[in-house]
Symmetry: C2
Subunit: 131 residues, 2 copies
């Protein structure tokens, strides 16, 4: 059986691919932080929603997000997810912008036992030296 | 000015190098998780203390831990630290066991505003495919 966080991330990625941004923001805590690109972080659901809208436009609405291997580490009602994240996309100039990242996501269990994303960093440790 | 978490991690690494395991465990939340090696995780201060004792013995008490570049991402009273971690050590057979890892640490702010480590994964995204 796959980890509940895998199921959750698969649903979030489907929402990103479908550009259902209301659904996307439901996966985040109110004061979550998203790394949009190295050096550019946004916090809070309204800013995260705007970032996903901008990312969708940047890729001419061609972005498809998928998942590869995944490791979940849990401690103190917190989970660190290490995951291969596949991005299939076409850039504005028509070039293939597909890539595979080794992402790092942090989730917290809320009072109702529901996992919410508090830090979304799809760049993983590649941010070291890039920021 | 460096981030308070850099100061904290430097102090924790000094305690590991000094084999002051009482001090080391003070940096962790009660139900924190430590990745000892790929596939072997331990949770809770007593188990974390025993793991550091075993690591010290494994390296014949030669382990010195240092810090390189660091990125801190904060969201919802949680921090994801991405950091180059330098390990200088001699293996039991006398060979140089020094290495540099791209570590991932998750910290939580407690009710008093104090940062405590909840997930310590010095292997970073290298765990993907290794577990």
């Amino acid at each position: 059986m796959s980890h509940p966080l895998r199921t959750l991330i698969e649903a979030a990625d489907r929402a990103i691919t479908a550009e259902d941004f209301d659904a996307v923001t439901e996966f985040y805590a109110d004061d979550a932080t998203l790394v949009v690109k190295p050096g550019l972080n946004v916090s809070g659901k309204p800013a995260i929603r705007r970032a996903f809208e901008a990312i969708a436009a940047h890729f001419n609405h061609s972005l498809k997000v998928g998942q590869g291997d995944m490791v979940v580490l849990e401690g103190a009602d917190t989970a660190l997810v290490l995951m291969e994240s596949t991005l299939d996309a076409v850039a504005e100039n028509g070039a293939d912008a597909s890539t595979v990242r080794r992402a790092t996501f942090v989730f917290r269990k809320d009072a109702d036992g529901r996992w919410l994303c508090v830090i979304d960093n799809s760049y993983g440790t590649d941010l070291i030296g890039a920021v």
